[in-house]
Structures are given as structure tokens and as C-alpha cells.
Amino acid sequence: MKKKSMMLLALGALTSLAGLTACGGGSTSTKADDEIWICVYDGGYGTDWLKDVSASFTAKTGIKVHYDADTSVLDRIESALRDGGDYDIYMSHGINWQSYAANGWLANLDDLYTSSVDGFSGTFADRLANGAAALSKITGDDKAEHYYKVCYTQGAGGLVYNVDMFKANNWSVPTTYDELVTLCQTIINAKVSDGGRGTVTPIAWSGKDRQYYWDYPVFEWWYQLAGKDKIDTVTKYMGPTGKYADGYEMYNPSSYYKEFMQAYDMWYKLIATNPANSMASSYSATLASAQANFVNGKSAMIPYAQWAKFELSAIADNGTLPFNIAMMKTPKATASAADCNYMVGFGDSMVIPANSTQIANAKKFLNYMATEEACKTFVKDSNGAFLAFDYTKVDLSDLEATDTFAKSVHEKLSTTNFSLSSTNPITYRTVNSVMPWAGNKYYYQSACQNNDGYTAAKVGDLVYNTAKSNWPTWLRNASLSD
């Protein structure tokens, strides 16, 4: 009897383990033919847009859409693509789609790119934002280029400001860097009450969690100072001789990277050496603290990206900001420069697993996302973010009549867009970003703490030396040689 009990115990334990193991197996086998599953990174766009877009897609096609928002999607996407998972579409930043495609884990999307889109005379490829198609294809074993992803969002980043506060105090939105410097001084001199014992400070920002938000204006100043051609040259990661071996020369602060350091210097003079322009302790503040300062009217501006309204509204009372916000076109580096927009998050991807049983339906959904209707829904539900499709013919007038933020992002996206995303292996074989901040080392926070230690000249040397000393390793890890 005792042995029987032990046997049952052992069998029970094994059965339980088998059962637990099976939990990860996914529901692919039980999926119906007319339904797709989507896994989206749980970030700053929410899931309302997915709910609405899915509903209208289902109404049109009869294909049911299920979705999960998940912050851990990147941790499990590789095994899901390799071994089979639950989802037919993944949407996230940071997907190593080039590797997955090379391994045959992603569905070929060539036919999607040539398919027609409802309500549009051209193809799906024609509906994409400028430059998105080029970032979505790689050369396959047949030596031909194939599409394996669709760009998810096109973005805008920069200084977000309190529209109502600007209006109430007759502050003009600055169009040049000099005007921005003057505006900061004007705000300080105005001594506008912040509703408590203090006065309004020009800028709130988070050095602890989001110092990289300063990249958005700095990159745009870099683009304006250096010009498109020079940035294109630099982001080829090849040296002056046209070879990879001395590619680190692209970080040389006295030649190829000169304008990047000039852009950094503009930031340095505005923020690092002028602490009065920022909320106290901004360089060590958390994101929550910076958000709270802006939402509570203690600061007039905050560096952010297209997800600003979504995230800032989430911490406001009743989920609604008590004032209108907008993203200003980054004040130009020089008066003669043209407005431009750094495409934040342009590398984000939407991919279909090759092992999905619903590839055709998943492509239909991606195709539907290119329609004007879906594009507009995304802007509305994500509070001002834009999909990586062409919005020139999407009528957003009714939305923009009441949403100053969506309107401002749209206007910014209508300027000259540029991106630093690249399909060069060195950018994705080395986890630490190689450009623009070599080794993914940021200096904004340190510069505020130690002004003298992080001047433009010193940071230029740091960036150059980091690139130079790590370059051979980065090249070898990417299997790049001349």
C-alpha cells in the first residue's frame, strides 16, 4: 500500500511537471483559422488603438484579433520565433529582425509590400513613411533583397511645452537656439508662481531615468550643423579610406564628429552650465519626479517624445492633463538652418513569425494598418503618436482642432525627417550602441554634476577614445573586415 502510494506520488509529480511544461506550449494548435494573435510591447502607446483598429479590421474581414501587451516580449521572442509561439504578429522596439530573418524565423513580406491598400491607389510600399522600406529589407541567401519587417512608428522628440502657460505669459515659442536661451531667461525673470511657494522653472527633466531624451534636440542640432551628407558618411561606419579598419575616425571630434560635439556644446551651455534653466536636481531626478513637476505646472517645458501626452496624462488627475501641451520644432541651431525631425523609434518593428499558421491573415492586418482609417485611429488613441506610414493624405483636421499635441507632432513630422537607424551589422551585432554615443555612454548627467570634466572638448575625446579602443572588437564581433 505504501509502495502504491509512493508510485502514485511519483507519477503525480511527473504528470504535474509535464502539465506545467505544457503551459508554455502556446495555444497555436487550438487557434481557429479566422483569428490572429498579436503581441505588442507594453510601452507608451497603450492598447486602445489596437482595440479599435482590431474591431474595425474584424468588421471588414471577419478575422478576429486577440492581443496581449507585454513588457517582456523581447525576452521570449527569440525562442517563440525559433520553436513556435502563440502569436502571429510581434510589435516592439529592439527586435533583432535581421538575425531572425537570416535564420528563416520570419515570414517573407515581399508580397505584402506589393499588395494594394484599401482606399489608396498605390501599393503598401507606397504608403510607408519615407525611408521605412529601405530599413525593412535584407539580402537573403539568393543574393536578392527581401522584406521581413514593417516599421512600427515614426517618431518625433524634442521639447514639449505647456501651451496654456506660454499663452498666459505671452511667451513665444522659440524658433532658434538663441531664442530658446532668451526664453529660458525670460521665464526665470518672470517669476511666475508655480502654485506653491516657488516660481516656474524653464525645464524639468530626468537625469536618472531619461537623460537620453536630450538626444532628440541634440541630434537635430547635429543634423542642422553637419548636413545630411556628412551624417550619411558618418553612419556608414567606414573610415576616410573607405574601409572599416579605421572606421573609428568617424568619431574624430576635430573632423567627422566636429558638429556632433558642437551640438553637444549647445546643450552643455543651455543646461549643464546653467542650472537655473532646470528644476533643482534634475540631473539626478527620476522620470516620475520630472513628469510630476511638469504636470503640476512647476516647469514650462520638458524634453520628451511622441508618447509624452499618453504618459503625462496617465499621471494627471482623472487621466487628463489640466492644460494643453505641444511639441515645439526644435529651435534651430542657426537662424539659416531648416527645421528637421529626428525619427524617434523609427527602428521599431512589426514582424510575422515564419512558423505562424496565420501568415496570410497577419499580412492582411498589417496591410489594414496602412489604411488612412487605421493610421488616424492610432494617432487618436495613442494621444499623438504616428505609425510609420505616410500621413500627408490622412485627414487629421478634426482631431488636430482639439489636440494641440497631435497637431504639433504632425507639423514636426512634416519637416525634413532623418534617422540614425542602420542595417549595418556593426549596429546590431554589438549590443552597446556604436553611434552616436560610442559604447552607449551618455554624458548629460555627468556634465551637470561636473561641468569642467565634461566640456565638449573632453567629451569629444572620450567618445573618440572609446570608439578607437573598442573598434577592433566591434568589427570582429560583427565579422566585418576589409
Binding site: M7, S99, S281, S289, T430, V431, T473, S479, S481
Partner: protein, 329 residues
Amino acid sequence: MTRIAAPEIQRAAPKKSKKVSHFSTNLFVVLMLAYPIAQFLIMWLGVNINSIFLTFKSFYNGKLVWVFQNPDIWDGNTSHFWSTLFYNYVTLFQSFSSPDTQSLFSASLVYFVISCLITLPISMFFSYFVFKKIAGNSFFKVIFFLPCILPLFILTMVYSLSLSPNGFIAGFLNLMHVNYGAFFDDLFIGDRAQWMVWIFCVWAGIGYDVILLTAGMSRIPRDILESCKMDGVSPMKEFFKIIIPLSWPTITTLFIFGMMSVFTVTFQPFFLTSGQYNTMTIGLQIYQESGGSGLQAPATLGLFCSVVGAPIIVATRWGLNKCYQNVGF
């Protein structure tokens, strides 16, 4: 006749039962061992063999292939055989000339000092304190044990928020009208960042060590301690001459764990400083690089550390086991 037949049937029955019994026992053993063996084969052997294989692979056309299948690396020249075979190791050794790699190793080696030479001695002292039930030991038990039951993420968050400019320590000092200037602004930035991670590791590490040490000390027979007391042995002498020798196996284990922290400290700097300001460790680098597509680089670094670290750790263990060999109870 029936009297004779009956015992034969009775004798036959146990034989059959014994066979069934053997089968049942064997089946039980097989079933109970199947899972751990499968776990070992897949999760340890399989993973490690795969990691070793990875160190002999490189990227070609977007795929990880054997180095000899990569025409960008292998040109067919036999004089390049060894440099091609150990392509990833050569890459690793080349990276040693980079200040970033040197900083990585020095930042990791510091954790040997922190774990073995700071945290462990402090833990031994406090464990004795708890073991002797000195007044306030229950309070200290909570203080020490709390970090062990909280997830690391929460612990690092509590730590960094407490020490932030708006944290409770700054608030308390404000109440006391203490002028601390910008002290709390800079704690996790620049050179201080390293110190903050180290202090965290000591604080969080003590609890774990204290738990194991008090468990080890509690096994020491009371008779020995009572005998010491009757002989008038001082607490200090008792600690060094009795407690430490009798707890030596536990101390040895913790010392070895401490040595391994050179390779295993990963998420403490990740949550506190994101690996910035020279706080990047070997473990964190491997973790972060494993999230990308260039898996051969972290695999090579990991194998190199194992090859170098394992003999040192084994030798240290052998040496430590030699101490107090003839002490027991």
C-alpha cells in the same frame, strides 16, 4: 494431499510478489530520477555544450556559422588555422587592451573584496551576536533577514529612493535642519556610483550570510559552550577559538560563494546605475550582450572566466578545507 499442496501455493505467491515489488521499486526510482537527469542533461549539459560551441562560431550572412564556414574569416590558408579556430578568443584577448574591458575586470574583482573580506567578516560578527541572543538580537534579525526575502528589484528601488534628494533620509535631515547641500543629488553619479553599489552589496549580502552562519552556529552542541562558560572563556576568545573553527564548513562555503560573486554580480549595478560610471561587471556584460544577436562574444567571455575562475576557486576550497581539519563535534 491438500495439506501438502497448500504450502506450495503459498510459497509461489511471495516469488511473484517479489518480482512485482522489484519492478515497482525500479519504476519508482526511474520515474523520480528521470526529471532531474533530464533537467541536468538539457539545462546544464546541453546549455553549456551549446555555449562552448558558440565560442567557435561567427556571423556570416546574418547566421551564426562555424568559423571555418565563414569566408570572411577563414581564407583556406592552413597557417591561419589556429587563429581562425580561436577567432572569438583572439577577439576577446584583443579587447583586453581596451580601457573599458580593463575597467570591467577591475570592477568585477572588487566584489571579491566586498563579499569575502568585508561582508563575510561583518556577517560572522553579527551572526555571533544573533546566536548569543544578545539584547536586541530579534531587531537585528529582522534588519538582516528583510533584504533576503524581498526581490532584488524592490530592494534596489527602496535603497535608491531612500537615498534620493526627495527620499526619507533627506527628509529626516531636513526636519533636523541639517544642511547637506547637494549630497543626495550626486550619490549615483560619477565616482560615487561605484561606492553606492558596493555599499548596497554589503547591506544586502550580510542578511544572506547571517542566515547561513546562524544556522551553522546553531548546530554547535550547547555542552561545548557551557563548558567554555564554566572555564571562564571570554566571548571574544569563544568566538575566535570555538565558534569560528566549529562553523568553518559554513564559512568556507560562504567564502567560495563570495569568490564567485566576481562573476555573478549582475543585477545590483543594473538596477542602480545601469552599469554606468565604471560599475559594469562581467555578469552584467554577459547578460546585456546575451540580449543581442552577437551571442558568440558573451559565450567566449563566459567560458574564459570559467576556465580561469574554476581552478582558482577549487584550489581555494581545497586550501580552506585544510584549515581546522581536526576540529569537529
